[in-house]
Symmetry: C2
Amino acid sequence: MELSTIYQPVQEDLVKVEDRLRLVSQVDFPHLAELLDYSLRSSGKRIRPILTLLSGKFYDYNLSQLLPMATAVEILHTATLVHDDAIDNSVVRRGRPTVFKLWGAEKAVLLGDYLFAEAGALTATTHNLRVIKLFAQTLKTISSGELNQAFNAFNLNQSHSQYLQRVASKTAALFTMATESGSVLSQAPEESIQILIEYGYNLGIAFQIVDYILDFIGTEEELGKPTGSDLTQGTITLPSLLLLEHYPEDNPVKRLVSNRDDPENIKQAIELVRNSSIIQECYQLADEYVARARHNLKLLPENDSRQSLGQLADYIITRRR
Amino acid sequence: MELSTIYQPVQEDLVKVEDRLRLVSQVDFPHLAELLDYSLRSSGKRIRPILTLLSGKFYDYNLSQLLPMATAVEILHTATLVHDDAIDNSVVRRGRPTVFKLWGAEKAVLLGDYLFAEAGALTATTHNLRVIKLFAQTLKTISSGELNQAFNAFNLNQSHSQYLQRVASKTAALFTMATESGSVLSQAPEESIQILIEYGYNLGIAFQIVDYILDFIGTEEELGKPTGSDLTQGTITLPSLLLLEHYPEDNPVKRLVSNRDDPENIKQAIELVRNSSIIQECYQLADEYVARARHNLKLLPENDSRQSLGQLADYIITRRR
């Protein structure tokens, strides 16, 4: 199913979010305006703001608060990507040169800082203390999760539970912020808020697992960045962990750790993962999380948003980019 | 006058701020705990949290809000320093190796992000929407000011007004955030809040001008970092601007732009600034801002905080580090 079909119940309001994202780059300082325009220009799937809007549609669909919040969620996501690229020296994302590549690390770091602040300022316009605190907590979770990942680069002794915890802190934190803020701002009862938090969490884990799979099986064209980027950064993701488990004696991931500059090891790891049951096992795990997310939805009132959230869960598994 | 004497009216409460700063590093992720402890450990002058506390002492000295706010102001300041050092490749600050030097750019960027979030979370605990918005706006001002500086590195065609604007966005933004938040949280009348904002602005400009002077006349031991660091980064500060004006034909700052790697030009620039009237002219300008700050104070109720804020203005001119 196409994203545009899934997004249908909030399509018009997503256009308003895009308008607000464009407004962010209307600043007097031309260099900053250019950086903001480049980094926020539509190219992503906008899943996170969609989650905020859809989650806000079960009770009081209060656009005066939901629109700035959905915009803030997308800006926060963008800020983390801009910093990630600067940290990882990534030169291409979504098929375009990164801010890091075009302007350098210094400007990328400062742009990311500005974007964090802009997202915080937009969140504050909701005047809702719960989502304001959620925003700060989410950024704490994301940055400590990224630090955890940085300290564990090339560390092969990671358990599955550590691994999932790390996944949780990265993607799931943003997904749950999106669903929690949407439901809170629409005056949902606490029970529904908790359900949408769980849905966001399960969806986020599934989404990230698929991201890690695609990094092994996607083409550079589909991914908008080189295949095997995670492993190149030393990030041991689920496919690599399974590869270590399946071939404990000798394998290209192990060899990569002792010889980090040999691209042959990355190539062999990709080959080995593709030609084993690993991809299937990863999809199985992602499927489990999608099933949980779908189960969460059953406990919510039935409406077109609920239907879209269910379709989104399926889309996340089948997507190729 | 010693800072400890100036701080006397809020000395006990500054100890509580230090306690809260230590609490921030009580996290169960040991690597993060170490980074937080290292970056927040007392070594700075703590002028910004002092400004919050003193500004909060004219009306309702409400510590339950002022303490987290003062802590947030210091953490925000620390976050910007951690990012600055990563961006500038600075290896030493306040006589200690920087986070960048000890842990590398990746960890420094992520630690800074975490600190921004922590400062935001603490600000949110005040439940005061005005200071929450002020926090986000301040981070926007600081990061766009730093971007402005980055885009103007080695740019000799800067007017004084551009220069002062940049100064304002860096240091003065944090100083005014400190004084505004303190006065707002103590339920000061709007007139007093505006006076304390102006005081913070004038004090911040004076402080930054003196910082730029010290970068030319201080010893490495006093500064806790090499003399001439600004110029080495390509940052054209007031002394360099005046040097360009005094010696328009040929001078070491001009030569530095065409030959950035020659340390001889930095050395000569320092010599020339020291042996001219430039330092005196800079101090004159700083004095003017201090006089304005002192004038602002006259409009506030007389108490021991007002006296301390006046002494702080004088201290800022005479300080050597």
